[in-house]
Structures are given as C-alpha cells and as structure tokens.
Symmetry: C2
Subunit: 394 residues, 2 copies
DNA sequence: CTGAAAGCGCTTACAG
DNA sequence: CTGAAAGCGCTTACAG
C-alpha cells in the first residue's frame, strides 16, 4: 500500500521532548526526519509519489499571487473585514474555495496572540454528562476553525489554580467552558479575568453576568418531582442531596422543598440526608432512611447514581419499588432506563447545554446577538417511568 | 473583584470568523480589542494592575539575553539537543526554571511544521469507554507540552475521509489515537500514512505493525467467560454478538467458541445471534433466544449494554437471573454493578489502554524503548458477580 | 479600499 | 559546542 520511504520517515520522527525536562538533556535532537521532506522531489517520486501528486498545501501567498492582490487583502477576506471591494472579495474567495485553502491555525494564532482552541474544563465524574457536553460543544464548533481541548481537573488539589493558569496562558485559549462544579469556583473565574480569557459557565444558578451564564433551573425540575410525588398521594417524603460543595445540591433541595410547600407539605429534617452524588452514598443514605419509623414512602435523590443506590438499599431490606417506596432521580442518565423498574427522573438536555455554551462563547453576531447578552436558561423536564406510584396503604 | 477595564476588554473581543464563510463577508473586523493591550501601561494601571504586576510572558529572547547566549542555544536546551556544553545547559535551564518559562506551542509548532496536539478519534458510543480512554491518554500527557483534541466521527458518513483529512492536515496533528471501531478502518490508516501522521490503533486484534498497536485480547476474555459457564455445568449456551462491522464482535465470538471447545462444548448455530451492541438489540435477541426450546441456560453477550437488554427480556418472560438463566457481559461498565443482580462481566482496563497508547505515540526513548517496537498486549479479566450460577435442574 | 514593512516566537539550514 | 540569518504562515500598525 504505502511506500517504504514514507513509513520510515514516520517512524524516524523523534518526539520533541518536554521543555520542563530540559535539565535532563540527553538524547538526540529532532532534526531527524524533516530533511526527507526537503529532498528534491525526485527522492520522493522514486517510490512514492506515483500514488497521488503530493500537492504542497497552499498558503496565503499563493492565493494572493493568483488573485493579483497583496496577502493583506487575502487576510482581510479570511477575516471577513468589511473593507474589501465586493468584486475583489469575490475573486479571492472563489480561488480560496477552488484550492480548498484553509489558513494555518498556528500561524494565525501566533499573529493573533490567541489560539483557536476552546478549552472544556470539568470535574464532574459522570461519564455520560461529560460525553454529552463534549458532543454539544462540538456541535456548535462544527464548520468553524476551532478545536476542542479537554481538561479534567480537581479543584481541591493544591496545584489546581497554578495548573489552570499554566494551561490557559500557555495555550492562549480562545475561551473556556466550565461545567459544574468547577464552574462554581470563583478563584478560577478570577484567574480567567486576570488572563483575559473569555469563558462561559454552566451552573444551576446565575453566578455571574448573564452573558457568561448557561443556567439550568434545577429548582424547577426538582419542584416538578415534588409535585409529582405529592400528587400521587405521598406525605412521608425523603430527600438525599448531593454534597454541600455543589450548588446544584442546594438548588435541587430548595426546588424540591418549594414544590412540596406548594402542596402543603414540608421536607422534614430527619428525612433530609446529604449524599455524595455516588452510588455508595445512595446505598448508605437510602438504608438509613428506609430503616426509619415511620418509613418514608418516597425518596427524591439529587442524581440517578444515588437513586441506583436506593434501589439496592431497598432490595437488601426486602422492599419493592414502587410498591413500598417510590424513587425519583435527577439527570435521566442512561442507567435510569437500564434499571429495573425504570427510574422516574428529571432530565437536563446536556448536549443542548453544551451547544448553547459554545455558541455564547463564540458570541455569534447574528440576529441572536441581543439574546447573547442575556443568561441562557435551561428548564429540566420530569420523565415519569416506573419507579413512582401511589404510596402503600397502611 | 475584577476591574471594569478588563471586563469590557473581554467582551469587546470579536470572534475571528470562520474562513469557510469568507464568501458571506459582512461584519466588522477583529482589530477591535487588541489596541487596549497595547495602550500605555498607565491605562491599565489606573484601575487594574494594582492587583498583580502583569508581567509580560517571557520569550526565548529574554532567556537568551539573561544567559548571554544566542536564542538558538536556548532552543537547543529546550529541545534536549546533545550539542550543548553541560555548563551552558545548566545555566540556561536554571534561568528557564526560575522564570517559569515555557515556549509558545504555536510558535514552536509553526517552525516545526507540526503542532503539539494529539487527536483522539473515536466512534464508540459508550460514554464510559470514551471518558476512561480520555483519562488514560491525559495521564500519559501530564507534564508534557501536548494537549488532547477530541474528534468523534462517523465512518459511514460520506464525508468521513474528507473530514479527517481536513482535521489532521490543518491542525498538523502530532499524532492520533484511534479506538475501535474506527481503529479498524484501513482507509483512515492509509490516509494517515499519506499525511505522514503518526498514530496508534487500539483494537481486538493486531492489524498493523506492532509498534502502532495496542491489542486487547478479547479472545482471551471471552474464553474465560466460556470456561466459567461450562464449569458451572451449563451445556445450552447462547451468544449475542456485536455487529459484524466490529472486529471485536468476531474476536469475542471466536474466543467464546474456543473456550467452549476446550470443555468439549460447541456454540450451536441457532444459539448464536448478531446484536448491535445496544440495549434494544439485547432485548430483541434475548427475547428470541429465551423463547427457544430447549431454552438456553446461559447467555454470553458481546457487551454489557446487550446484557442489560437480556435482563429486561428475561424479566418480561418471567424468568429470573441467575436461577433460570445465567448472563455474562463484556466491558464491566458501571452499569454492570448498578444492575440487579450484579452482572458477571469481562473487564478491559480502558484507562490503562489509553495511557499505553499515548505512551507508544510519544515513543518514549527510555529503557522501555525496545518494548515500544512490540505490540502492547492487554489481557481482559473475568469479574464474577451474581448473574451466573449453576443451570436450573430440569 | 489596498499594500509594503515589520513582527508574532520559535526552528531550520548553514557556517564556523 | 555555538551563533547569525532566514523562514514557518499569518496579522498588526501604518501609510496611502
């Protein structure tokens, strides 16, 4: 298939090593393979080029020459400058299209003093959340010249801020998108301002100027869950929240309590436990709650993982869902529809949220421009499945 | 907190628009905000700089001046060239460390004609797989000057190859990591050779020169599953495979059949169905298999998602797991330990695989160098839980 | 509306 | 072992 020449070139490539390790300094230097490319065309032709005429990628200079203009004018067209005669623009953009020319992002970035990379910074451990969010951001980036660089983090780590500074400064990120709970970290946001790096935060409550926020109204979704349970006739209703370090945990509790209040019910202190958004914490809190007298007939958990834990706790105690106890989760993750019985849960359109966050960052100057200065609001919806029913008759 | 000056600068930033849309050409040009930065320091000082002395980032020139050498020599140190006197190196690297200097990846990339971006190209729909893989790759990248750019794809799309070419060529990727099933696509690999882009493929079988492969021996894991079921006493054993377009589907079937053969059993034709690696296909194939006479007493599925489908099928048919039928999955995804009963499954160390793939790509020139020319082998392990037991007595 | 010059921060190619 | 010059492919700052 592929010729020997090329393959060996590939494998001879040497890693340009980490500058951080410069002290060690052994090893060869990276000029190894590049010569090959510069050899007179004949060298390649011999074995390889028969396959495809390895056309060298064209540059802004080629376009300029072909269009009989300066490269600055080509640059203007690339950057949508209004100061180009329509005729000139047309001529240039035609050539650009025909050649399939695309400007080099590195060169552009170097001159712009800003890269074409969008960073996604996250610390949410739920795989599905992360992947959906990535997909949404990529949806918005499709057809642009941006690429998505991902960055998990641990905001409790001592080097957290230093790492972030390094990352953002060095890559000269065009902008970053922050998801919960790192989106709630004001130290990071302060750093972002200092580094002059645009950002959009996704959070359960507005924490910043509207133009930088995608707000998921967890309050509203949790209230729906509360009304649903109340309307089924439940009175003894418990809650397992996420950890206090997550704003969403508070918002969901608040919304749930509000929803109950609307129906004349209240969230009793001893029916309200703090979990950790994990399966295990759901088992623990679920076991405690279900051992109480009187036993709650319904439990709302801050996410689906903990709901799965409650399922396990119930089974271990010989209780059946929803006959003995109803359960409502939050997230509507894939597990929700793999569990048995299928879990009633509050759904957030994660992928859409990612897309909206990226669009905000790009600050598209279209008719939607005005809207971009407002916060973007996301309303969760309750998905009723099999895990909720009337309370047991006693 | 943050000063008005900076904030407004941030929001005034204009998106450098997509060159692809250059034809449209309306709108303003992006020189808007840059002036602000160039304003005499006083402008910033007025309100802001009191916080921290906004030190301009140092460049290779600063280092050179301070060390009394040419910038070429600094460059040599950065790139670990052996042609630097130890004393010179020491002096330079000390200064580098003290200033916290890190070379600009864009400038370096432009000169190198290759970026410092690693691409992860994937089409696997399982969120947990993707996230674990990303984590592993990032594990290997920590402390290097590389960043991870992600790229989901659909290799059945008509523009697939063109998109990939565009992506790789334009970003001048340092290298890419391919996960199943796109890792099995020879057209893509051919393109990678043509573009002279290093890669590592993760797949269930060696498809390429060893130095480019991380091979997961799915055969071995599936054989373990077969032996486990045979040793429990099962004779009527069924299989639901992944789609024929995935190599892993064939490997898992083959391994399973091999394992059965070792125990004097064989995988009967009518007990062998093709699924689609999805929950729904697991339900469909599971329902069919469990309606057969004689009914199989055990089912091995090509992944956990389909096992979850079999769970549902069994419940709908009034069958109990593992009393009436044993089930073994593959992947050991989080659902496996959220399901009830807990699913016996074959585990692949995805995160480690990601790390190993990235390390191969970096081709670390350490003592491990020799090993890097061999394929990297990954052996799955069977995790026995609650979904497998002796067959029902009839 | 357009262009010539200088520069972004690095590395290559060449010379010593 | 070290350096001066040229260049990577773009954009900015300035001039017209």
């Amino acid at each position: 298939m592929v010729t020997g020449v090329r393959i060996s070139a590939r494998y001879r490539h040497t890693l340009a090593p980490d500058p951080a390790k410069a002290k060690k300094g052994r090893d060869s230097n990276p000029r190894t393979d590049v010569n090959l490319r510069k050899k007179p065309a004949a060298a390649l032709q011999t074995k390889a080029a028969s396959a495809e005429p390895k056309r060298k990628k064209s540059t802004i200079n080629d376009i300029a020459r072909m269009a009989n203009v300066s490269k600055k004018t080509v640059s203007r067209v690339i950057n949508d400058s209004p100061f180009v005669k329509e005729e000139t623009r047309l001529k240039i953009s035609t050539i650009i299209r025909e050649l399939g020319f695309a400007p080099d992002p590195q060169a552009r970035g170097l001159a712009f003093r800003r890269s074409f990379l969008i960073g996604m910074i996250f610390d949410n451990p739920t795989a599905q959340y992360i992947v959906n969010m990535q997909q949404g951001i990529l949806d918005a980036m499709r057809g642009t010249s941006f690429e998505l660089v991902i960055r998990p983090c641990d905001r409790t780590a001592p080097t957290f801020l230093a790492d972030m500074r390094h990352f953002i400064e060095r890559q000269k990120l065009f902008g970053v998108i922050l998801t919960p709970s790192v989106s709630e970290d004001d130290r990071l946001v302060k750093l972002l301002h200092e580094l002059d790096c645009p950002y959009v935060r996704i959070a359960a409550v507005s924490l910043d100027t509207p133009a930088t926020m995608v707000v998921t109204h967890d309050v509203s979704g949790a209230a729906d869950a509360a009304r649903h349970l109340a309307d089924l006739g439940h009175k003894l209703i418990a809650h397992i929240s996420g950890p206090a370090t997550f704003r969403s945990a508070h918002e969901r509790r608040r919304g749930f309590a509000d929803g109950l209040a609307e129906r004349g019910l209240k969230l009793a202190r001893h029916y309200d436990r703090e979990g950790g958004y994990t399966f295990e914490s759901g088992i623990a809190a679920g076991t405690e709650l279900l051992s109480l007298k009187p036993r709650p007939t319904a439990i709302f958990t801050g996410n689906d993982e903990m709901a799965a834990g409650v399922y396990k706790a119930a089974r271990d105690l010989g209780l059946e869902i929803p006959r003995d106890v109803s359960v409502v989760g939050f997230d509507d993750s894939p597990v929700a529809s793999r569990m048995w019985p299928l879990l009633t849960s509050v759904r957030l359109p994660i992928r859409d949220m990612g897309r909206m966050a990226a669009e905000k960052l790009f600050h598209r100057r279209t008719e939607k421009r005005a809207q971009n200065d407002d916060a973007t609001d996301v309303i969760p919806t309750l998905v009723v499945r099999e895990s909720t029913d009337k309370p047991p008759v006693t």
